[in-house]
Amino acid sequence: MIVAEQKGLDEIKNSLGDAKRVLIVGCGTCVTVCFSGGAKEAAVLGSSLRMSTQIDGQGKDVSEATVQRQCEWEYLDTIRDRVEKADIVLSLGCGVGVQALAEHYPDAVVVPGLNTTFIGLPVEQGVWAERCAACGSCMLGSTGGICPIARCAKQLLNGPCGGSSHGKCEVSVETDCAWQLIYDKLKAQDRLHLLMEIAPPKDWRTGRDGGPRKIVREDLRLPKTSEAPSES
């Protein structure tokens, strides 16, 4: 899932400026599961903003709406009336949700309420950790299902650096050395021979270095009007 953290109340209030009618838009998918931007978090933030702005004399009119997914046009259509009536839209979606709202409603002023942080998972209740860097060229098959791109600070492809100590990364003693994890896992599975193969330099064009990415699936696209079967 996409993991995000809510911004501080002061930063959010500053981003709202003088806008009077504020619509907080929560998202019912990733940020609901990581407790940063779902219906409940939108309600708490709405309540906090109403009280805070009442105390400092601004008295904003704050309401909330949560859609199933902010990153799909169809769901955003369900709140059109409310978006159009608002002076400003405070998105509690990830960065995709914020941009989807801004793109779908060109006249709306949209500001983010979250800091989108990483693609990860909850390793325990209340603790999330990064697991994927969306590099566009997955190599998990040769590393025992442990990603050196997302979990090694240096994104090394052929074993640990000299900073690995007692299984921990030199960046933080709380961070496991990804290559120690990979070695332990492959050893336990008796697949250490995989490490004998030298991974060539990674082609980073499949990642962010290649610019904004896009996937086109012709088999899933809807036919263009000219190609649609005519009614007889």
């Binding site: 109340l9 708490v44 309540s47 009280m51 805070s52 105390i55 400092d56 004399g57």
Partner: protein, 159 residues
Amino acid sequence: MTAEATQIAGGEAPAINIIAFCCHYCAYAAADLAGSLRIQYPQSVKVVKLPCTGKLDVQLILDAFEHGADGVMVAGCMEGDCHFQQGNFNAKRRVTHTQGLLRQIGIEPERVKMFNMSSAMARRWADAVTVMDETVRQLGPSPLRRHRFKTAHPQGETP
């Protein structure tokens, strides 16, 4: 009590609203027992029964303040005695989290507090309400109520 709080109350002790979220298995029964035993405690408290303080949600506390509460007390079982194992510990963490939120909002975090007691501790219930009542009276009406008063009486006249 602050001079402003006295002014809001028209020169008399202000009517303080304290919402007590009480666990069905302990504090609610303790409050009931306090009544049966005719133990006196401040009338500022309004009891809301929860099946367990583990049901407590941050939004419940914020709603209370937004709708006029000056203080919120959360009363659960003694630590280690929760009917649902860990409900009171969950509530304790949520109360701490809410105190941080209130600070950001501009409301004194001391206005929300967690208490622990068993169903037999009628005296402790009365003492807890008294402590909370005194704390909130020291702080005066919540900043939200003070603001509403100022808006309604811009010249500073008493209501």
